[in-house]
Subunit: 392 residues, 2 copies
């Protein structure tokens, strides 16, 4: 369905040289089409958003910060339209290649960023994560990728989806570079200390395919050994499906509110499933919102209990390797719902979560995620580097 | 939002000469992009339908019949995507001009056909009418236009929407040419006899703006005088809103079934409102269908009672003149619902309905409709010519 002339898939060239010297000098990066780049329209990879918005007057905070750190911007990357997706298929501009899994989706919504990094087009890339949009593509393409603590990194100049969930994130192929980018964006030191303890999320593992559980088992052992103290627990006693449901309601309401006026005014073109999901979100009632809020509060409390004082939760990043591209909606829809049982945990709690690309199933990447307490972003990036430098 | 390079708005040139001699020799026509034209893909004015279907192998029955009657095809006309609309706005290819009302919609879904005829680009044009798609544009652009009796004209080679409602229809600027085209497509004589009697549908008039009621009043008097016997009655004792509701359920279910598999397979691009309405149709339950069927049966019986033995019902074609183009969905949606209280009557009963373009409000066309018993197509076309020849 894609127009091959548009220049996306995974990205369109926009070159802005970084500062002459800096900690990221000599590196190239790309930014998801939600980040403002001065002089260009931030299109959200939807042609009607592009057509109805003016060019950005200044760079997004994250773009400006990376340029100031010496990195050179070389492209704007495709996203699932308006960041509304987890698989990386865009009906307007196409599906970026998954360089690690031919014919399979790259994951989304940061699809072009993950594809550009995994394919070696850039050294690293900016994504964003509201409901899983950095974690899932990192898992599917075998990259280091992190969703940061909500509110930790300024979202100035980033096209908003659901403000109480939107976060900045990024991808890199190796843990050392990932840590260097993390230092620049978090504006702090990246330590080399392991978490204090680890909870292995039994219920999250149960959602994954058996092959994924098997492939991740030795990685869990390695990580547990590096940490020292670990225990297996059910993260959500009442079932992850209830956590997924509250996320659907609360994120859904916010996303609808972000786009409702523009949709009413513009009647934009969308892929069918994107429009269908938005229309469903338009029907979320105040009563549903009120009922979901205590579930979210309980989730936040439970995650705090498990992660406070340096703890991490480990779980599969996604329940399966990247699915085939171009499948029927009746196949991909249920897969997306399964993914959301895992991604809702960090989304709702505001916690940071990093994907460690340390396993494969049939040659396709599968990732182990570590989720820490809000504010533990540096620790997660540092521990990933520590594991890698130990040859793990 | 439209791509100006696509050639629509109102139509793209495709020239196929008609037979050397015939009753329509020397006339040109265009066909809505639901009609097969051999060697071209019937696109339904949706880019993804176009991309996922092969070229037609032969002409649609109606196209073939017109060519055989001597008319020359000069274009394929834009429609609301997949005929799903009443206003004539297409997010992919643009909104055809209403030559009688600048800045206003042409009406749909036969938007390009009505625009091409009203603008003088062709002598007449094929449209189709499932839920009002010939009647409404004829009303908005001031043309003669007819929805034929359901099943009267073969739909071979016409992209289907809701099979128990889909019909062939056509537009012309004057009643004499309209009757000549009618003779060719109905394959019969067009008589010059008035209806036996007329029912003035009080409840249908009440749905129209006061200005429309006022503008149509002298036309109703003229028509009543030509017929001789007339009476004012409420067509639907329980309220036209209930008739509209059953139409929404039964046509909606059929339309969803027509497109569901293709949507599941393709995840096509649609304007937001089109996708939203389809998604709503996907949720129609069997219980809702079962509840709607007796309402339709009662409607059919009531219309039979009012139109049998040569009777006609007269009513406004639309409740208002063509609305402004490009309005908010929150404005255009309620207008569409109001229209459907009028158009559901012929749609659900399978009756033919002709628009007589004999009035204006503030210079914008408003039409009076005559609805006859199923099978009375020739009578309606003939009476329209009779009125015109009498200078009415």
């Amino acid at each position: 369905m894609a127009d091959p002339s548009n220049g996306f898939c995974p990205y369109i060239d926009i070159r802005i040289a970084g500062a002459a010297s800096g900690p990221l000098s000599g590196l190239t990066f790309a930014a998801k089409d939600l980040y403002d780049i001065a002089g260009h329209v931030t299109g959200g990879s939807n042609p009607d958003w592009l057509a109805t918005h003016p060019a950005a007057e200044k760079h997004a905070w994250a773009v400006e910060t990376l340029l100031a750190a010496g990195a050179t911007l070389t492209g704007k990357t495709i996203t699932d339209e308006l960041s509304l997706g987890l698989l990386g298929e865009n009906a307007h501009y196409g599906t970026p290649e998954n360089p690690r899994a031919a014919d399979r989706v790259p994951g989304g919504s940061s699809s072009g960023s993950v594809s550009a990094v995994a394919g070696g087009h850039v050294d690293f890339a900016l994504g964003s994560d509201t409901g899983g949009s950095v974690r899932i593509p990192a898992g599917f393409c075998g990259l280091y990728g992190m969703r940061t603590t909500h509110g930790r990194i300024p979202l100035d100049g980033v096209l908003k989806q659901a403000p109480s969930y939107d976060t900045v994130g990024w991808f890199a192929r190796d843990a050392d570079l990932f840590a260097r980018v993390s230092a620049a964006l978090l504006q702090g030191e990246i330590p080399a200390v392991p978490p204090a303890r680890m909870v292995i999320a039994a219920d999250a593992f149960e959602i994954a395919d058996a092959a994924v559980q098997d492939a991740l088992a030795p990685v869990v052992d390695t990580v547990a050994a590096a940490i020292g103290e670990s225990a297996t627990e059910r993260v959500c006693p009442t079932g992850l499906d209830a956590w997924k449901a509250q996320q659907g309601v609360l994120q859904g309401r916010e996303a609808w509110e972000s786009f409702a006026d523009w949709i009413d005014r513009t009647n934009p073109r969308f892929a069918y499933d994107v429009a269908r999901n938005l229309a469903q979100r338009a029907t979320i009632t105040d009563a549903e919102v009120a009922a979901a809020k205590p579930v979210r509060a309980a989730l936040i409390e439970r995650i705090d209990e498990l992660t406070r004082d340096g703890g991490v939760i480990c779980m599969p990043t996604a329940p399966f390797p990247a699915p085939l591209a171009g499948r029927r909606l009746s196949k991909s829809g249920p897969d997306r719902d399964r993914i959301r049982q895992l991604t809702c945990i960090a989304s709702a709690s505001g916690a940071p979560q990093i994907n460690l690309p340390l396993a494969t199933v049939d040659g396709f990447p599968v990732g182990l995620s570590l989720l820490g307490a809000p504010g533990s972003d540096e620790m997660l990036a540092g521990f990933a580097r520590l594991l890698a430098s130990a040859g793990r």
